[in-house]
């Protein structure tokens, strides 16, 4: 057979790895043809919604539902009393705690679910909610975790024994009724010793404020119990549909084969849709009770005020160094505000997530981390908003500590980073807090970044600006924000990563069709990441069929193989690896078929782009398309018909993407308004699957980083009232607020990942937050600023200037 096209053209036709293939999802999204959970309409579908507590801490004396039940269209009002006989008035959280589904005698945060009104439509439900009469007795409110640990007010009476003693929690001993856990990593005594004897020690206390992932689509579900066949179908905004199926089965007693969980199109997750929420449980119960499908959809205020906040870490650091700037030790203590229930979404053994990546990108020989989790009268959550578990907090901490140390040493912060980076030849590198970094080349990335922005030139310009400011020639300061981050993603190895006992492997199942197209199903679920595009590219390169001929399907537990879902940048490191491995199984069988068809020994053929060729005789070949047809339609001795494979991938290690970011910002001292003049982002995510999608991910992650650093927060007053429950006050940037981003990259493949990929969706957020923050703080460094807390909104920036006497 004669080849009509060149090898390069054959490669191009596959649209495999490295190709900026256009996202196949976008045809429907850009035409408004997506299918989100609120688009689902079923015959006889009812609508449920919550009566929510106006108080942050109160005892519930009585709930009167009579008037609500009089509203035309209202069918039922569920309270904890109705759920109790089913054992569903409380539910387990992902963090080993339990959470009220509906208020059981008291409420612990404003917006807590008190009763669930089920009605024929959402209008009747809303009218019913107005008429449910709840009698509250207000209790003292605690919104400060330090106060919580001193207070006589017990938030969780259910966690104190009758004799007043404090039973252990899911993560060991508790030292106060409002204390959840103490978790530590590293060597305490040696670290304290290093710090005590160090020539230079910089200390800082910083508060990483509470914020929220705020996906455009809020959380919701539709539960439909078919009483005839006993099957429950649950559609919802689930980042981990299989985990939801297992949890629903465990708490409801419905056998897992009778539960089908479907995640349709999801409009962003960012961690908000990992957890299990009372709305899911109530919808299921309401469907079982009424025999009809029941829909529950959060509105924006529900979403911001009740489901899954992020951050809220009070961090204290000590960093020791030689006078030359070589870091010798790091100590970190965190007081973590978890709200009324511990519903953090972390692997079970890591109640503070991977906060112990807080030694960052630096070769720090001795370190110690201690985290205390605390209950307060705030909403539960504690998810990883566009980052792997608590990694944004960790990277913010170390990237601020580096800056604080640079100030203490009167040293350039870029140089301080350079002399402390883990060196290329040290990889795989075992950090003082236990993680084994797989690969990295930090110096190369850093040098490339600093050169790209003309770092020396920027510093000279900044010095001139300071002189001009002092001379009264300008009222604008210039800040240069630096950040070098190492992420830890791809949770994770089953030996140390599970959620509620579910190992964090992932999976891919491939069926090749006889005519040479394919469908692959995965245990993950895209929320905008473009899985249908990129996983097809991985497969195209692995099995030699065009990406355009491969359908990627996720999110239906009846069809997809079991997996732990999409969050923490785990899809590419785990499910992407499973995809490659399943593809290789396909290829191995294809090799045998090809050898049979070409009448040579298996070892005498080799894979070449889209075919197997006879070694040394490239004109003799069988394309994968031909092989697929033969696999189904030709009797081949010793080989089963068909061409399918499944792979469950348990990663041997995490992957460690890294990057170097620089932000240049002008700050109006008089109004506190920052203007981002330039943002340069170099990302190394290992092997690059789709450069265009990477760039999109970087833009998105940086924008959410800008939001968090410059204004996005969930704030409470002293009474526990949430002050930021709408998008008027909760900062969600638009195109107007977003600067032009310059993206760049280096490629340092992961040595243990089948295709060397590391994941990128969250890196820009992790690295971006400290970069924006450092830019603000750097502008004020020449005037004596060491550290100010985020979010750097106008008034806080103004206050920094004011405190430094710059308005006098």
């Amino acid at each position: 057979m004669k080849d009509e096209i060149t090898r390069e053209e054959r490669v191009d036709n596959l649209k495999g790895m490295g190709c900026s293939r256009k996202r196949v999802e976008d045809a429907r999204f850009t035409q408004g043809k997506g299918n989100y959970v609120d688009d689902l309409k079923l015959d006889g579908m009812l609508f449920g919604d919550f009566v929510r507590s106006p108080y942050a801490h109160a005892r519930i004396k009585n709930i009167d539902t009579a008037a609500a039940l009089e509203v035309p269209g209202v069918l039922a009002v569920l309270t904890a009393k109705d759920l109790e006989p089913l054992g569903l008035h409380w539910m387990p959280t992902l963090a080993g705690d339990k959470q009220m589904v509906l208020a059981d005698g008291k409420v612990l945060f404003q917006g807590q679910e008190v009763a669930f009104v089920v009605a024929e439509d959402r209008y009747a439900a809303a009218d019913g909610i107005e008429l449910v009469e709840v009698e509250y007795e207000e209790l003292p409110v605690i919104v400060n975790p330090f106060e919580a640990l001193q207070s006589d007010v017990v938030l969780r009476e259910d966690l104190v024994a009758e004799d007043g003693s404090i039973p252990d929690g899911a993560h060991g001993p508790r030292k106060h009724p409002n204390h959840i856990f103490t978790w530590d990593a590293g060597d305490k005594a040696p670290t304290e010793e290093v710090i005590a004897s160090a020539e230079v020690v910089a200390e800082e206390t910083m508060y990483y404020h509470r914020t929220h992932p705020c996906p455009l689509e809020t959380c919701g579900c539709v539960a439909s119990m078919d009483k005839v066949n006993g099957k429950l179908t649950l559609w919802g905004t689930f980042q981990a549909p299989h985990a939801i199926r297992t949890v629903v089965s465990l708490i409801s007693g419905i056998e897992e084969h009778n539960i089908r969980v479907i995640s349709p199109d999801i409009g962003g997750g960012f961690g908000n849709k990992v957890g299990a929420y009372p709305g899911y449980v109530c919808s299921v119960v309401a469907s079982i009770v009424t025999g009809k499908p029941v829909k529950w959809i959060e509105d924006r205020m529900d979403n911001l005020m009740t489901t899954a906040f992020a951050r809220d870490y009070h961090m204290t650091g000590k960093i020791a160094a030689t006078p030359e700037g070589k870091i010798t030790g790091l100590h970190c203590h965190v007081t973590a505000d978890h709200g009324g229930f511990d519903a953090c979404a972390d692997p079970t053994k890591f109640p503070a997530g991977f906060m112990n990546i807080c030694t960052g990108s630096y070769d720090i020989p001795t370190a110690y981390l201690e985290v205390d989790g605390v209950y307060t009268n705030k909403a539960p959550g504690g998810v990883s908003y566009r980052c792997s578990f608590r990694v944004t907090e960790a990277v913010y901490f170390i990237e601020r500590m580096i800056e604080v140390l640079a100030i203490k040493l009167d040293m350039d912060a870029a140089e301080l980073r350079r002399i402390n980076f883990i060196k290329k030849e040290q990889f795989p590198y075992t950090a003082a807090l236990g993680w084994e970094y797989d690969s990295g080349d930090y110096h190369t990335a850093w040098d490339k970044a600093l050169k790209a922005v003309d770092y020396e030139g920027l510093r000279a310009e900044q010095a001139q600006r300071v002189a001009d400011f002092k001379a009264g020639k300008t009222r604008k300061l210039m800040g240069i924000g630096l950040s070098f981050f190492t992420e830890i993603v791809g949770a994770g190895p089953v030996k140390n990563c599970d959620i509620l006992g579910l190992g964090m492997f992932d999976s891919c199942e491939i069926r090749i069709h006889p005519t040479g197209s394919a469908i692959a199903r995965l245990g993950t679920i895209s929320q905008g990441q473009g899985h249908a595009t990129t996983f097809a590219q991985i497969l195209a390169s692995e099995i030699g069929l065009p990406a355009d001929s491969i359908t990627i399907e996720e999110g239906d537990t009846d069809t997809a193989p079991y997996g732990l879902g999409t969050y923490g940048s785990r899809s590419t490191p785990v499910a992407g690896a499973a995809t490659a491995m399943a593809g290789r199984k396909i290829r191995a069988k294809a090799q045998m078929i090809a050898a049979y068809l070409l009448e040579v020994h298996d070892n005498d053929v080799e894979f070449d782009v889209d075919r197997f060729v006879v070694k040394g005789a490239p004109e003799k070949f069988k394309t994968m398309k031909e092989i697929a047809f033969a696999a189904y339609n030709q009797a081949i001795p010793g080989i089963e018909p068909g061409l399918e494979a499944v792979s469950y991938y348990d990663p041997p290690n995490m992957t460690y993407p890294f990057g170097a970011y620089v932000c240049v910002m002008d700050i109006d001292v008089d109004t506190g308004v920052p203007d981002i003049r330039r943002f340069y982002a170099l990302d190394d995510c290992g092997t690059r699957i789709n450069p265009m999608i990477i760039e999109g991910q970087v833009h998105g992650g940086l924008t959410e980083a800008l939001a968090v650093a410059l204004g996005q927060e969930i704030a409470y007053d002293d009474m526990g009232n949430c002050k930021t429950g709408t998008l008027m006050d909760f900062f969600l940037p638009t195109a107007w607020e977003v600067p032009n981003y310059e993206t760049d990259y280096t490629v340092t493949p992961s040595p243990h990942h089948p295709i060397g990929a590391k994941g990128v969706g969250e890196s820009p957020h992790v690295g971006g937050v400290p970069c924006f923050s450092n830019a603000v703080q750097d502008a004020f460094r020449p005037f004596g600023n060491t550290h100010t807390n985020m979010p750097h909104d106008h008034w806080r920036i103004w206050k920094t200037a004011n405190d430094l006497g710059l308005h006098d």
Binding site: Y123, W736, E737
Partner: protein
Amino acid sequence: MIPAAFEYYRPTDMAGVLSILAEHGDDARVMAGGHSLIPMMKLRMADVPHLIDLQDVGGMSDITVGADSITIGAMVTQHDIIDNAELTAAAPILREAALQIADPQVRYIGTVGGNVANGDPGNDMPGLMQCLNASFTVVGPDGTREVAAREFYEAAYMTAREDDEVLTQVTIPLPAGGYAYEKQKRKIGDYATAAAAVQIVKEGGSCVSASIAMTNLSDTPVYSDAAGAALVGTAVDDAAINAAIAAMLGDIDPTEDNRGPVAFKKHVAGVILRRAIARARSRA
């Protein structure tokens, strides 16, 4: 975010509107663009059992630039303001201000009448209209009357308009001299942290008239007569501007909110007014 049940009316003439208002009193509200009223209804902070949509009434969508004055119908949208070249030539401050209201989608629907009539201290047009010494035409059961913008606002959401009246038109004396609308906000779509509307007329290097109004720095827009007076008869130099700012600070009464505490707002109000005056001066 579901409003309580309400009756929806869509009369085709003003007589129809007035008869519904007469029947239901303060249980009825008229709606122009709805960008202030509908969110309040969805939050159940505004209870409007009878909602009267003005869309089909007609006759309130014209912009007329006359020899001495400009008239703007209540149903004219912010986008119409931005898009009208004749209006921009006659009163460029209107376009400059409208461009700083919300975002294009809101501006296609949000109206001048709704913006000035609702009495929301965060809205930009009330302060602007006070600066321009506009008057509002209101129609009620006893006929038509004119109310000066500087007399219209009594407290947050409380105005000189009676419950049975409808604001139908804004009339603006043709402005002269230099202008500026300066606004600081946290993001697109936000209300002002502080905003200033300034018109200055100079003759022979001296200011002969100045008009200054501030937005979202009190429970009503603040027309600061004293601030304008501080500029008149001066060259609008630093000393005069300082005096104007001092006068303005005496007239505003900001409260703390998520934008910041009072001290910050007052400081920013001064900075914003300084910049607005400087820009207006440069255009005078």
